[in-house]
């Protein structure tokens, strides 16, 4: 086996593994793995309706953001 192929294989496989590791650590840092039971139980209810709910919450959030932005823009000058 030539040296360059060995180097290439080691580099590529380690890099791919590291990508997965980085994604996992990102998930942990943002709190997505804090709730163990959610993986087992929560996913059972993860259907279309819940997607709809999530979208609704997202809209609420956006509306709130827009509102606070408007308030800032039209607020009296300090």
């Amino acid at each position: 086996m030539s040296n360059s192929i060995m180097i290439l294989m080691l580099t590529v496989s380690t890099f791919l593994g590291a990508l997965g590791l980085a994604a996992l650590i990102w998930g942990i840092r943002t709190g997505q793995f804090d709730d163990q039971s959610k993986f087992i139980d929560g996913s059972r209810y993860d259907n279309e309706e819940d997607l709809h709910d999530a979208a609704m919450m997202d809209e609420k959030k956006k509306a709130q953001e827009a509102k606070s932005k408007r308030e800032k823009e039209y607020g009296p000058p300090d």
């Binding site: 080691l10 942990i28 709730d35 959610k38």
Partner: protein, 805 residues
């Protein structure tokens, strides 16, 4: 009559006792109006898919929810304490949701919160039922949010997450990331190491070997410096406190192997030991992480306790009721307390009389009647009527507060047990470094083998003696011990607790709630005349007194056809009993004193508790009740004694009931009539006799003694504060677990000693060989790994420990 299931809560009752309703072609059954109300609310909201998600889980039927105190959630004192305003101007609160049985409940709560206008975010943790809610205060008030949760028959308490939770969570995430990196590095290095070892035995080109070496170096570096950072930091703190701890050894061993490997890699001579580096770090790190997990559990339970202390109380000023923040209450203020509320400030009763449950303070299982002029203590609960009392202390010097402070003190002052193994291995590593240096110098100057060879010999000394086995001896055994204990429902908060527990020689046990059920049970029932059992059932259902509950349970177990009747004129007579009317009949239930007051003849003379039931001036039934020892308590005492421990029982109860229980359980040494501080004094006295003491308890009243003892064991159903100060928590009420915990700790301690002996023998043989130059570094690394494997194997044997059941 057939048994049917309640459509809402899923509990099974007799059909005759149910509320029946027709909806289309379906027949609905409800066990109470609460269930009916919640069912209709959910179906009108289109949330009835909840029931299909619920499956076979049963719910608690909704209690009569009280919506009166909702206003307190909007008060400034409450807002300042629990509500945060985030940078978008939104409000944020952390809640503990009570009444969650399963994941469907979580789903339902999230759903209704999401549908409430003005709530921007609502997430509920499936594991610990804690919720985070973000809302817009212009659109919805917190009181409305709590009301929404209560309307579907759950309840919510606010808590302050800043205290401990945020920190515990951060530590856990941190460890998680570090372990992942370590495991990733280890797994990959293992594969490369397979090629390395194969090459060592069958021959390998130096060029290929170099490539593999560099790949291992790349993988090992983040493991040592990122995952191993914990040990470097620990070693630094140890150095600052002039202590050579386990962290120093791990850090030194790993770093030395790492540095030598870099040297071997660059000079292209000899073997690299990057695989040993990552293995040392990974194994020891996982052991440390399990300790962190245990601590997080304790934090979850503590939050519930602080959340039930009210932030504001009703103070009467100029005949008007005002809600005043706890801190602003002054000595001399008149405070009003309703039935069921917790007293938070000490005082003297000025108006009214009521029974008080002081069980959390004194352990006394029976309520005490307090009249005008009597002292009431904070931490007790007012059971049956509304009273007004004058504050004699402010909130910071009241008993409840002082107990909490006392506990905080004793937790921080609790001596850290220095582990023998660590101090030995601390000296050990210093000695090894000295021996290695001496070996290098003597080979270099006294023989003609040259610098290169001398260095390799001295490094093989360090590697062969790398305190891996010694370092693993304790954590591997405790890891096995802790996981075995956890499987059996015993939670050790720290690994060192196992060792301390094994060394204890006396066990102090609390009586009420620990050895006994703490709930009186009917031991004898005399039915004198025919009567409707539903009458008695309805009467006792109207009281929260433990005796009433005992009677209620007795009826539920022994009778079938009873239902709750609508009684009139319900009147609870303090410390005596209850009376009521039904269809013109007068009914009484209570002790002998109540019967005498009403001119009813009784004949019971017994040392047990008595409950008489009379209809229209004639005694129809009488019951004797007794607080019974828990199942297995006697066997547990027996096995504690056979393990060589002395047993002493501590109780706040009076002499007679203490002696009764003690003789039943076979305990010779008892101390009765103890206040919380008294129990702690007993522990102190034992300490003065140079005894190591285990304290087992469950209530707030035990918590000072728990904190003072060497090892505190708390029952999992006990007061949260007791659980928090304890080192060991029994997850269920089974008392036999106390003996099991001891058995596990003794077995683990034995394994630790064996492991230490093994690793010392190994070093005594191997080090001289290495010093003499007979061992190459690769062989020394292999034998080092082998010694670790032996230690691990010996530790795994702990799992084969046999228990009685």
């Amino acid at each position: 009559m057939a048994d049917v299931k309640c459509t809402h809560c899923g509990l099974i009752f007799d059909e005759s006792a149910m509320i029946i309703e027709k909806e289309g072609d379906k027949t609905l059954f409800f066990c109470c109006h609460g269930c009916q109300g919640v069912y209709h609310l959910l179906s009108s909201e289109g949330l009835d898919t909840f029931y299909s998600k619920l499956g076979k889980t049963t719910l608690t039927p909704p209690r009569n929810q009280n919506f009166e105190d909702l206003e307190k959630f909007n008060l400034d004192g409450f807002r300042n304490k629990y509500v945060k305003v985030n940078k978008d101007g939104l409000n944020e609160v952390s809640l503990i949701i009570e009444g969650i049985h399963c994941s469907a409940c979580v789903w339902l709560n999230e759903k209704v919160l999401h549908r409430t206008d003005g709530i921007i975010e609502a997430t509920i943790n499936y594991t610990n039922n804690k919720a985070k809610v973000v809302w817009d205060n212009d659109k919805v008030k917190l009181s409305r949010i709590i009301e929404v949760i209560r309307s579907i028959s759950y309840d919510a308490f606010a808590y302050d997450p800043a205290l401990q939770e945020v920190r515990a969570l951060k530590i856990r995430r941190d460890y998680y990331s570090r372990i992942l990196v370590a495991i990733f590095g280890m797994m990959n290095i293992m594969w490369i190491a397979v090629a390395q070892y194969a090459g060592y035995f069958t021959g390998i080109e130096q060029e290929h070997k170099n490539i593999l070496n560099v790949a291992e170096f790349v993988l090992a570096t983040p493991v040592l410096f990122y995952s191993g950072w914990v040990f470097f930091r620990g070693a630094y703190f140890g150095y600052k406190n002039r202590m050579i701890n386990m962290d120093v050894l791990v850090a030194a061993g790993a770093t030395l192997a790492y540095l030598y490997s870099i040297y071997a890699m660059i000079t292209q001579r000899g073997e690299v030991y990057f695989d040993s580096v990552v293995m040392i770090i990974t194994f020891v790190l996982v052991g440390k992480y399990l300790e962190v997990l245990g601590k997080k559990h304790a934090v979850d339970t503590l939050d519930l306790l602080t959340s039930t202390i009210p932030t504001e109380i009703v103070v009467i000023k100029n005949n008007q009721k005002n809600l005043v923040a706890l801190e602003n209450v002054e000595v001399g203020d008149i405070i009003e307390v309703k039935a069921g509320e917790k007293i938070v400030i000490d005082g003297i009763i000025k108006e009214g009389a009521a029974s008080f449950d002081e069980s959390s303070l004194t352990g006394e299982s029976l309520p005490l009647l307090k009249l005008i002029g009597d002292n009431i203590l904070s931490g007790s609960i007012c059971l049956d009527s509304t009273i007004r009392y004058e504050a004699t202390k402010d909130s910071s010097s009241s008993l409840l507060h002082s107990i909490v402070t006392l506990l905080e003190d004793s937790i921080t002052k609790k001596p850290k047990i220095e582990q023998l193994a660590n101090s030995i291995s601390g000296y050990f590593s210093v000695i090894i470094l000295l021996i290695a240096a001496a070996t290098f110098i003597s080979w270099y100057y006294l023989s003609d083998i040259g610098f290169e060879r001398s260095l390799i010999i001295s490094i093989s000394v360090i590697v062969i003696a790398c305190p891996c086995a010694l370092g693993l001896a304790t954590p591997m055994s405790t890891l096995m011990g802790i996981s075995l204990a956890a499987k059996r429902g015993i939670l050790f908060k720290e690994a060192s607790n196992l060792e301390t527990l094994a060394k204890c020689d006396i066990a102090a046990l609390d009586k009420t709630g620990t050895l006994t059920e703490g709930k009186p049970k009917v031991i004898e029932a005399n039915f004198l005349k025919e009567f409707d059992i539903s009458l008695l059932y309805s009467l006792v259902s109207n009281s929260n007194h433990p005796i009433s509950k005992g009677i209620k349970n007795y009826i539920a177990q022994n009778f079938e056809n009873f239902k709750e009747l609508k009684l009139g004129d319900i009147n609870s007579i303090q410390a005596k009993g209850i009376s009521a009317t039904y269809n013109g009949q007068k009914i009484f239930g209570g002790n002998n004193a109540l019967m005498i007051d009403n001119g009813i003849a009784t004949k019971n003379i017994t040392e047990n508790l008595v409950f008489n039931f009379a209809v229209n001036d004639g005694l129809v039934a009488s019951f004797e009740l007794k607080d019974t020892p828990k199942d297995g308590a006697k066997e547990m005492i027996g096995s504690l004694k056979s393990l060589g421990l002395k047993v002493v029982m501590l109780t706040g109860d009076h002499e007679k009931s203490a002696k009764n229980i003690a003789s039943e359980l076979g305990i010779d040494d008892i101390k009765w009539g103890l206040l919380p501080a008294g129990k702690a004094e007993v522990i102190d006295d034992l300490h003065k006799q140079n005894k190591k003491v285990i304290m087992v308890g469950d209530g707030i009243n035990d918590s000072i003694a728990l904190a003072k003892s060497d090892i505190a064991i708390a029952m999992g159903n006990g007061a949260d504060i007791a659980i928090n100060v304890s080192d060991v928590v029994l997850l269920n009420e089974n008392v036999e677990k106390i003996a099991e915990a001891l058995q596990i700790s003794k077995r683990t301690y034995k394994a630790i000693k064996e492991n230490l002996a093994l690793s010392i023998i190994y070093n005594v043989i191997a080090i001289p060989l290495a010093v003499a130059g007979f061992v190459y570094p690769l062989v020394s690394a292999l034998s080092m790994s082998l010694s670790s494997l032996i230690v691990v194997g010996n530790s795994i044997r702990i799992k084969r420990l046999k228990f009685k059941k």
